[in-house]
Point group: C2
Chain length 348, copies 2
């Protein structure tokens, strides 16, 4: 049996506890460890394992090196009733995301809509967990972050832009929310990193090498850049995310964002934005549930090109994994569990 | 000389006057005609001629048939300080867009951020003019609309979704704003319609025929469906736009949106959303101008794959056309001008 490919099932509660203890061992207080862990465990529940508790390895590395501030004091400033600017004080990313999303929801309770612009942050995991939590509380959302360099501007041949993930969600009182969480590259950099680790090739169209030439060699692709989804349109979206999440928030942007891989001891100064819309102001729960049910039915009734693959709404695949893993436990590689248990015992 | 391909240069002011007189001849009051025309002339200035004054032909057709309400009373309701619901009363689309954007900006003067959700509207032209006007007033924006059916849900083979345009803009006090305006299909339906009219083929990857098979025949493509940009990611974005602009606004969505082509005499009940962010709350004009200048320089300095095609920001091509046509006049087909002059003399 190869230890690298063995997996274990871990209950969400046990994984939450393990993640909390890892973070506590690296200097986070109990509240901060809890909220940070909640985002990562949600990512694993959705099957987004490249952005779940596996990230604790690099997060704790950076906490040890002082690249992330374990005792950060996140400051929320209301520039206007519906517009918040948040100084993340170089806190661990998912904690920042959790607090910023919560602050935006609190403001939107009064104003119906609110936007939190965040600077001084770090890699915040996937967007889906924040979208999910906001939707569970009744808020539709648009949320995004800038990111470490990975994409070349359209028509260029040098990485000057992240693959800036963006998420959208609408609550569905009768079932799971509709959640779209996507990076603006054709494929996530983490998938290429995993392919390189495993020594397997990547599909055509994902990336180029350092000279801007298309490649299926994962190691070469890591030295090159990711291709934006939909060519110039994905490039344009990545620019707009960086302008709102990075430039308007007061964070770093483009080439000024620090890489957590190349400079783990430095603050990244990432920027995020969290826009939330209180759907309870729009109509009753029944009104929304009925419209969402009807909308889903129209999509699900679409004749499928392949009858074995029915047409789905964004997020349905992730919620199917969420349900299965809630019931059966979350699949985590054994060697990662060993590593996390060791990290939970180590001192900050 | 073929009249179909002859063009004339018309000053922006003269085109505005002509468009206003066409709309006034079809029952709009002076204020409504002015604001509607302003959006269409801006579209032409940007070179977006498929969505400029050429649209007056179908708009006036529908005004004559009673499909659009010439004397609409657009109602703005504040559901919360930063959240507006707007009943467009089946007004002509660009008028609705102009009024909704203005109402959102007025609300955001107080709250910093505001969102207008619009139902009961019609085709509102391109998004760029609204983004431009908001940016000139100091507001960053995200704006979108649902649309007549043109895309099949990913993995399906029947059109149940529009190519739902979305726009983003950030003001740039030292120059032109950065504006991204894109439909969520690889190509706009209007381009395929023009190719079909001209009897020329369309590029591969734009569309399929009615059986879901890829085609380069423009006429067959008009019977089939558009392909979403970036495959499932563009599909996901089109769904999220319809959920916010259509479902949450109280408008029609998906297959329930009426086609202005197939049923010109019926209200479309389209939905839009207009989100605006008051950038003056974030910092001084100098602060924003300096960051935008720096951001643009990083992008422009990217080594170009083709040295003859320097790397650009979204909207730069459109603003180059805007400047040229402000100076030299807007290029309009002569036969369209003949048609518009006739429409300006006809009774509602």
């Amino acid at each position: 049996m190869n230890m690298n490919t063995a997996n274990e099932r871990v209950s969400p509660g046990a994984l939450q506890q393990l993640a909390e203890s890892v973070l506590a061992a690296h200097g986070l207080n109990a509240d901060d460890a809890r909220d940070t862990a909640a985002i990562l465990v949600l990512a694993d529940l959705f099957g987004l394992s490249t952005h779940g508790v596996s990230r604790l390895v690099s997060y704790t590395d950076r906490l040890r090196l002082g690249g992330i501030n374990a005792q950060a004091q996140i400051q929320v400033q209301a520039l206007a009733p519906a517009l918040l600017r948040i100084d993340a004080d170089n806190a661990v990313g998912p904690l920042v995301g959790h607090r910023a999303m919560t602050a935006a929801m609190q403001a939107a309770e009064q104003t119906g809509v609110a936007l939190a612009l965040v600077h001084g942050s770090n890699h915040f995991g996937p967007v889906a967990p924040y979208c999910h939590l906001a939707a569970q509380a009744g808020f539709a959302s648009i949320m995004a972050s800038n990111a470490t360099l990975s994409i070349t501007p359209w028509g260029g041949k040098q990485t000057r832009l992240g693959n800036n993930p963006i998420g959208f969600a609408v609550p569905n009182p009768g079932g799971h929310p509709v959640v779209l969480d996507m990076a603006l590259s054709v494929a996530a950099r983490a998938k290429i990193r995993n392919a390189a680790k495993a020594g397997v090739p990547i599909p055509e169209g994902w990336a180029t090498d350092a000279n801007g030439q298309p490649t299926t060699n994962a190691a070469e692709a890591l030295k090159g850049f990711l291709l934006p989804v939909g060519g110039h349109k994905g490039y344009g979206l990545a620019i707009m995310v960086d302008l709102i999440a990075g430039l308007l928030s007061g964070a770093s942007y483009l080439t000024k964002v620090s890489s957590w891989q190349d400079d783990p001891d430095k603050p990244q100064d990432l920027g995020h934005f969290f826009l939330v819309i209180d759907t309870r102001r729009l109509g009753s729960t029944e009104w929304l549930a009925e419209r969402m049910r009807d909308f889903a039915q129209i999509i699900h009734d679409t004749p499928a090109a392949d009858p074995a693959s029915p047409v789905q709404l964004p997020g349905e695949r992730e919620y199917a994994r969420w349900e299965a893993q809630q019931a059966q436990g979350i699949l985590i590689p054994t060697d990662l569990l060993v590593q996390l248990r060791a990290l939970s015992a180590s001192k900050a």
